[in-house]
């Protein structure tokens, strides 16, 4: 996973509440067995017309936002399916940060696993950032994870909160599995204890019939 330290880029406005993961990445394209190259299907239904050509009204088809690295969204961003294809497709497009008043839990989690920083900020602040993001080529923001700030185009810094463990993992590009494997002793002792307490749960999928 790529480290996330500081990010400067154009922020695109996406003022749609309850933006679901079917909209971010339609189910029909979940047939891929790869996690790369998925941006071709990102926002498929709203980004392209039925004939496959670009919908010029969609923000990511407009000049400065084609290079967007940040999205400013609305409430309950990423609700619906657990598909990690949604963050994979965002990442493949070049999005490394999503700012919104609230996120759906699974999407929020999935972002961190892929080096994308989801930032939850109060609605009033998001409303201001949404206005900033509408400034086209001037919608440039800087996200500083170490200091937990978003710098607006006018230079004003907005502070955000983030869980310390997740911050640590993003800053260092750490692989969760590698970290957990360092605790394999703890996992082994837990399993011994649990097998004594709840023996019927062990070997269970191989018992049956």
């Amino acid at each position: 996973m790529d480290k996330f330290t500081e990010l400067t880029g154009v922020a695109a406005p996406l003022p749609i509440i309850n933006l679901d993961t079917d909209k971010i990445f339609p189910a029909i394209y979940l047939k891929t067995i790869k996690r790369t190259g998925l941006s071709q299907w990102l926002f498929q239904e709203i980004r392209f017309k039925p004939d496959g050509s670009e919908n010029p009204d969609f923000v990511l088809n407009q000049a400065p936002y084609r290079q967007a690295k940040i999205l400013v969204g609305a409430d309950n961003f990423g609700c619906g399916s657990s598909r990690e294809h949604a963050p994979w497709a965002l990442l493949d497009f070049g999005i490394r940060c999503v700012i919104a008043p609230s996120f759906a839990d699974i999407f929020y989690n999935n972002c961190f696993k892929n080096g994308i920083l989801p930032i939850a900020l109060p609605k009033e602040i998001c409303d201001e950032l949404m206005e900033d993001a509408k400034k086209g080529a001037n919608a440039v923001m800087t996200v500083d994870l170490e200091n937990q700030t978003v710098s607006r185009p006018d230079g004003e810094k907005v502070h955000f909160e983030i869980d310390a463990f997740r911050k640590h993992c993003l800053l260092n590009g750490l692989d969760d599995i590698g970290l957990t494997e360092q605790k394999s002793g703890d996992i082994g002792s837990y399993e011994k204890k649990a097998e004594l307490a709840r023996p019927w749960q062990f070997g269970m999928t191989q018992k049956g019939r």
């Binding site: 003022p15 749609i16 509440i17 309850n18 079917d22 909209k23 339609p26 189910a27 029909i28 979940l30 047939k31 891929t32 067995i33 790869k34 996690r35 239904e45 409430d75 309950n76 609700c79 619906g80 399916s81 657990s82 598909r83 990690e84 963050p87 609230s102 759906a104 839990d105 699974i106 989690n109 999935n110 696993k113 892929n114 869980d163 310390a164 463990f165 640590h168 969760d176 599995i177 970290l179 957990t180 605790k183 394999s184 703890d186 996992i187 837990y190 399993e191 649990a194 307490a197 709840r198 023996p199 019927w200 749960q201 062990f202 269970m204 999928t205 191989q206 018992k207 049956g208 019939r209």
Partner: protein, 471 residues
Amino acid sequence: MAQPRTLFDKIWDSHVIAPQGEGTYLIYIDLHLIHEVTTPQAFEGLKLAGRGVRRPDKTMAVADHNIPTVNRAAGVAGIAEPDSLLQVQTLERNVKEFGVPYFPITSIDQGIVHVIGPEQGLSQPGMTIVCGDSHTATHGAMGALAFGIGTSEVEHVLATQTLIQAPAKNMLIDVNGTLGTGVSPKDVILAIIAKIGTAGGTGHVFEYAGSTFRDMSMEGRMTVCNMSIEAGARAGLVAPDEKTIAYVKGRPFAPKGAAWEQAEAYWRTLPSDPGSKFDKEAHLDAKDIAPHVTWGTNPEQAAPVTGRVPDPADEADPLKRAFIERALQYMQLAPNTRLMDVPVQRVFIGSCTNSRIEDLRAAAAIAKGRKVADGVTALVVPGSGHVKHQAEEEGLDRIFVEAGFQWRDAGCSMCMSMNDDKAMNGERVATTSNRNFEGRQGKNAKSHLMGPAMAAAAAVTGHLADVRDLG
């Protein structure tokens, strides 16, 4: 005296292995269900890192999303669509290579992952259960903490049998009283989502409590828990009771003999202690719940079938108003249209929400002696090979076929249309599935969520209909 603990607290506490940083814990996973769509990249990750599956004995695989619902006897070779075929073949190769137990698609044990977990006795009270699918909350009906995860987490569980998680908050969903005639568990959960909103449960685990859930069948509880995610909750639980215990007993993977005694005693300790504190609560009265249908493109956009399509002009918040306007534009519905005047061209009875035997019985009771309306295509897709078999034993298949419904093999089918079952040319669908998102059931498909009897009523009348009028 010890602090009273909720069902969720008890399951959480007994699964914490170690703290993993501030407010985050490493927790143990008792059962990992996997399917073909969200695992190929996880197995690829394991291979690249030279890792194996830590506990194949706590992992169970099945293919459900991509498979055709006709000609199942042809097996994997019967999957015509090349990408779907590749995904199922990839799962079959991976389970073989990593030694993971698997229900083949020709087996009677095959079915939708969230139907077969409880049906096989794999999903049991007090467990932590995960699957790379947001409707994993279904297994919460067994009194298990069950939630959906992304593919990176699937890989994490395969490799370590653990997850890094922050504890959720507790939310009580309290519904009391007897449901009226024609009102189903689907209406209960649609009414709950309409009341608290699609993000009403974010960061929380629901506990469904109150006499309405105590009186509900296990299948009904599964329908309710299934859609917890549609209210944003991470999971939804019902406390294990006599019904739960009777349901698990004797199933293929349920504990037997002395282990059964020990398990049952443990399960009886799980219900929330009296005086448990919940961070949030919602209360509904069963008598106020009518048969519901959705009119928009999000499950919270639901209303009693006797109602009308809302007018966005009544919504003051501009973003919310835009969301309703967009939904009505997509659904091609005018404000104030009577819901029962909305015609349908396609009907889908199935999905992990409503494809169990009780659902098929409810739909068949309406279909019996009636005919699918002209211009309507109606599909019944059982949730598993066993559900299909039982329905056939009861003669439900004949009722459906005589009424003009198509009787199919088990799978996810038109819930998200990854196989050949989909709405064509923007058809309007009466569906018993869980999501009415844009395009989910086919390009420009307009989905109306409802219970199985209501979907059957729509099939025979050709429009959204109140099942209470069909008697």
